[in-house]
Amino acid sequence: MLKLKNISKTFNKGSINEQELFNNFSLDIEKGDFISLIGSNGAGKSTLLNLISGKLKSDEGRILLDGVDITEKDEFERCRNISRIFQDPAMGTNPSMTIYENLAMAKNKGQKFGLRFLIDKKDEVFFKDSLKVLGLNLEDKLHTPVSQLSGGQRQSLALIMATIVNPDLLLLDEHTAALDPKTSEIVMEITDRVVREKGLTTIMVTHNIEYAIKYGNRLIMLHLGKKVLDISGDIKKNLNKEELLSLFKSVSDKSLFA
């Protein structure tokens, strides 16, 4: 489904701050995989998502999505097949537009944005049904500007918008990190439900070890641009928090004294 082949990425090339993050990094993701990606700061999690989404270009290597080489494609071109939700709830929605308008924009993804009217009254039932999944009563606030919603509501809306047209790949970049613990739980549960219902291939970056264990069928730990852990199936299911934490610690301690 998604193949990263021999990716290399160095920041600030040629300066004294030169920092090699990825060297010959490869990753293979199956269709329908829900991967939780963990690692300490600077491990390359966000860079990896940026490389996949096209925000950053790799120095070497190829990226294939569904067999198509997307290495040279710009971010906006890749966005036609890839949806992404960011840590900042303000990133995924248009604040001055209403929920209805935001959903209408998202629904038109992949189609022409021409001179036809955006708002179609016929969509109302569909939008209400899509929002009901959240259980946040957003379906009664269709004509409220998004700027008046809370962070959790916005992030949930962003999730619906990102998945209203099924993307080939869904990238979640610490998308619950800016929310309070309770809202974070709710958004995470909704995420899990939507991802499983639609069978979306998903990569989720998280700092929450519990989420990383609880959700998804595969867990990858990155450290300084290298995969230090890649488990799936029963081994992942039976993983406990203490084990993972101690592993996490030993990896980062090693590098500290290396």
Partner: protein, 302 residues
């Protein structure tokens, strides 16, 4: 109606068309587009030179719009493709347009139209201007309801989200600048025919004038309950032109006009932000209201 009031209304309607163009860049894209000053004159020069060459004055305005669109496209290309900062790329185009405008007018700084037919010859001036303003208003009202119109609004709001829809925001920005400058040039072309000449300096301050009108429209009129951006532009321009005309009547020198415009813009921008010298006043007032409310609640509970 006396000619003083009539003049204000006619000029306001003409300038409000430029205001609608500036609205796209300033309010929607958050792009400080100073090329407006150049493309306003460009519209007037193109229309004037074509009229003197015997072309139908209405058709000459179509060419004005086309020329404005080209100017806007260049600003957009400088910004998007060559990565020159927005305000700088628009200044570069504005400066360049000065020479272009002189060339368009055959090397003359002023091109009179007094001996030629214009769109106003043998017609009711107000009616003609009204039709153009109404056409522009209807166009923008329609446009902002289309998918493309929403894309424009979305880019100024949250460009990231528009990229995530798989849209090349760069091309949309270039298109927006072209559209904006086309209407600014149309406004310039109409004004040139209205006053009977095109002048190489007539566009100076167009951007600031448009800003003033938009800010006034959105601060004063929007509170009354209008939300159509084009209608807000019209009323904003009307108030702005009236205050300018009145200050002239009060005895101020016409050469002080640009300074007055700047001061008006500064005042309204500051009010808009709630910052600067007004901040103290605003927060004090808010505090006063808040404490009085507290007292009210307190006394009710007592």
């Amino acid at each position: 109606m006396n000619s003083f009031v009539m003049g204000i209304i006619q000029q306001s309607l003409i300038f409000s068309i430029a205001g609608m163009g500036i609205y796209i860049t300033y309010k929607i894209l958050k792009f400080a587009d100073l090329s407006a000053d150049g493309s306003f004159t460009l519209g007037a020069s193109v229309s004037a030179i074509l009229i003197t060459k015997g072309i139908n004055p209405f058709i000459s305005l179509a060419f004005s719009m086309l020329a404005g669109a080209v100017a806007g496209t260049i600003t957009g290309l400088l910004n998007v493709k060559l990565k020159i900062q927005d305000i700088l790329s628009s200044i570069l185009v504005m400066v360049g347009l000065y020479s272009i405008n002189l060339r368009v007018m055959g090397g003359m700084a002023n091109l009179p139209l007094f001996n030629h037919n214009t769109i106003f010859t043998t017609r009711n001036r107000l009616l003609i201007i009204f039709i153009f303003a109404a056409f522009s208003t209807l166009f923008f009202t329609w446009f902002f309801k289309t998918k493309l119109g929403y894309l424009l609004k979305g880019i100024g709001d949250n460009e990231n989200m528009i990229i995530s829809l798989g849209i090349n925001t760069g091309s949309i920005k270039i298109f927006a600048l072209a559209l904006s400058n086309a209407f600014i040039a149309l406004s310039g072309g109409i004004l040139g025919q209205y006053q009977g000449f095109s002048d190489v300096n007539m566009g100076t301050g167009t951007m600031i004038m448009g800003l003033a009108s938009i800010i006034i429209g959105f601060n004063l009129i929007k509170k009354i309950g209008f939300s159509n951006s084009s209608i807000l532009c019209i009323f904003g321009t009307l108030i702005y032109r009236t205050s300018i005309a009145l200050s002239l009547r009060a005895g101020l020198n016409p050469s002080d006009l640009k300074l007055i415009s700047s001061v008006i813009v500064v005042i309204f921008l500051t009010l808009d932000n709630g910052r600067g010298i007004f901040k103290k006043y605003v927060s004090k007032k808010a505090k006063r209201e808040h404490s009085s409310k507290l007292r009210e609640v307190g006394s009710r509970n007592a």
